[in-house]
Symmetry: C2
Subunit: 183 residues, 2 copies
């Protein structure tokens, strides 16, 4: 539950090659060939195409029993056989943020089954949520996923299911970057 | 629900005179004579005694019905007859942040009545919560209150009641600064 500050930097160098970029809603991101994910908010010396900042933090909707189930199933980042990744920055509407905590939880899990759906893809799809909105950044969340080539189809299925939920009606900006590990 | 970045700066100048400083738990803050509360994270030109950063954000525990009741009762900051204020920076333990959302909500409201207790003092005590933990700051919350001299006793009663709750067993650092408006 420790707070860790993370930068995602798009540019001409990086640990991940950007293999596809799709803008689903709202404004796109400038084109970049490579991506770096690193701790801290400092920009690299080469001027990047874009620099998105986020932080890992405490759970916002997950109950203790859901957290225990996730902890028993989920995989860490950096697995040697996870050669593919996705960065999906998301922004939600003002209408979402104006809802009460109980209303957001009900949409998120009781009606959209966000945690339950994600759980089906563990440990195949490793995932990490980074919060971004409170920094005054252009996106609210920077969602990150790592998986092997055999699970690329499962990942497409996962994001397709989430995008069809009631929760996603509150998403007003979404970019989907697919990545392949360079080294 | 808009995110606004706010600085609290202790030093030799400021809009508020620090009339009392009490450290209830954990490390104290360096001594300062005055305090400024302002938007943004930039330090003033004079080197401050301390500089705490926070942000207003969406509700984390409050339900829609509680939010509606609060909105109907609460007062804005900056009332001309609110000559007194308090800044109470608070940090909670790792044990608190490791709890599930349902467990934190149960302690916060169902068992400690945090919102319900605060509601009793509206609109006499105007209040604003600033989150700080996700910035990597030394405190998790910067809580701010404004009130008139006639309500100083009520404010002492309010903080005394909150400090006796189960929720406060998770507070591991707390400093209480009392302030009087300079101009």
């Amino acid at each position: 539950m420790q707070v860790v500050h993370i930068s995602f930097i798009g540019g001409s160098i990086g640990d991940w090659r950007i293999t596809a970029a799709q803008t689903l809603r709202g404004a796109s991101l400038p084109t970049a060939a490579f991506l770096t994910r690193k701790e801290g908010f400092e920009q690299p010396t080469a001027p990047p195409a874009w620099h998105l900042r986020g932080f890992t933090s405490n759970l916002r909707y997950t109950t203790a029993s859901e957290a225990a189930e996730l902890a028993g199933r989920q995989a860490p980042l950096g697995r040697s056989d996870s050669r593919l990744a996705a960065l999906i920055p998301i922004r939600k509407s003002e209408a979402w943020w104006a809802l009460g905590q109980d209303e957001r939880r009900a949409i998120y899990e009781e009606r959209s089954r966000h945690t339950s759906i994600g759980m089906e893809y563990l440990p195949r799809i490793a995932r990490k949520l980074h919060h971004s909105r409170d920094l005054g950044e252009p996106f609210d969340f920077l969602t990150w996923f790592e998986f092997g080539e055999a699970d690329a189809g499962a990942f497409d299925e996962l994001v397709g299911r989430l995008r069809s939920t009631e929760e996603w009606q509150y998403v007003d900006r979404e970019v989907d970057l697919r990545l392949a590990r360079v080294v």
